[in-house]
Symmetry: C2
Subunit: 243 residues, 2 copies
């Protein structure tokens, strides 16, 4: 395997992130809301979305984030959105998808297309796989992937053990997309994930939910709040950092 | 997470294995054939099969292997066959399965059943996941999993990069089950697998095939030959060790 002709910066210390703000390239972001993100004390910004991840939308948002005071990561859900610039590239796989395409097929196909063309420029050290459990049956990601969302905490524990202790994947993402989730399930994931880092996202709209989720998750993700009530972001950060 | 009340022996150094002999608990094994395995110089014995992995069959074969001169590993394809004793437990996932059950669903379900009952006795350090590419369309494993077997070397390279460089799984298994495979595909897997260990199995019936496969794979697996012409095992070992 040839050595890359490019020297990449080291990956940011994502394991230290307690609070992450997720921005959706498809949604209009006011300057005031962006200012609130910067002032909130959040540890990192992640660009991601289940739809609308066009190259132009991603580039536009990345350029607005050029002066962000924290690392900017990109969740790569489409090949065309994989543009250079972010400090970290998150590669989502949906463990509980019924459609096997979301369990590696799409990613392998994308890599098969990239390798002969830009293989030596792929910054492998900056790619971080995310083992998702998509748990809100009404969300776009669940519909797209045919996710089996009716999991009891015991079922989720099996997935966590498989991902964290058998496959030894670095990160498990419990995703409730807009709805606040089952904290007993989140706890079961954390207790069975072994050394894997556990991320929680979904329905965090105040310090209360942030505190509850941060009790079990290493990292909590806040997304909708940026668009709905950016002035409340700071209290979610404080709750995450207080735990 | 509670500490296990059991101290497990350290895992064998499977990365040093160049030649592995695979025994199928479902197939009758003559004493002479077993003697040929022991005398062949093979580096390890793996018990595995796509069907017939009953607890009784596995236990029977394990007891016959009690005096094996090399480590004995068990490929766990059914929950009931996961018995104590082996030096290493191989956990197969079929990356190119179309049925997502074989991409973790079955394994997560088995773990969900085991965790509340014997969770603290699961020897996590002895579990080694195998990222399979099942490539012989006529084999049982391909039929069971709905494997997409019509992969060009470029397609397989994408899977190898995903498994080895993105997911950072420890082992990729290129499986042609009984037929000698496409060495260009095997080479593409090896060149794109990053730090992952590459295993090849299928159609090795002489030193010639063994040598060809061992040129690209870290480990070659010989199975059918034990049952068809055990006296030829030794030449496959010599070819593997010669590379």
């Amino acid at each position: 395997m040839p050595t890359s002709p490019v020297t990449w910066p080291p990956a940011p210390d994502w394991r230290a992130w307690r609070h992450v703000t997720k921005l959706d390239p498809e949604r209009p972001l006011t300057p005031a809301a962006l200012e609130a993100v910067y002032a909130s004390g959040t540890d990192a910004i992640v660009l991601g979305g289940s739809t609308g991840m066009t190259q132009q939308a991603v580039l536009d948002l990345l350029s607005r984030l050029a002066d962000a005071p924290v690392p900017v990561a990109l969740e790569v859900s489409t090949l065309e959105s994989a543009v250079p610039g972010p400090a970290l590239f998150l590669i989502p796989l949906v463990m509980n998808a019924s459609d096997s395409r979301w369990l590696g097929g799409a990613q392998a196909e994308a890599l098969a297309r990239l390798l002969p063309v830009v293989g030596e420029y792929i910054p492998w050290e900056l790619l971080l796989p995310e083992a998702y459990l998509v748990l809100n049956p009404d969300c776009t990601a669940a519909r797209l992937t045919g996710a089996r969302t009716d999991l009891a905490p015991e079922d989720a524990a099996g997935w966590a053990a498989l991902a964290g202790q058998v496959l030894r994947l670095p990160l498990i993402y419990v995703e409730y997309s807009g709805a606040f989730g089952d904290m007993a399930l989140l706890q079961a994931v954390r207790e069975n994930a072994g050394p894997a880092h556990v991320v929680y996202g979904g329905g965090i709209r105040s310090g209360r939910e942030a505190g509850l989720a941060a009790r079990h998750a290493h990292t909590i993700v806040v997304g909708n709040l940026v668009y709905e009530a950016p002035e409340r972001l700071r209290e979610t950060v404080e709750a995450a950092h207080g735990n």
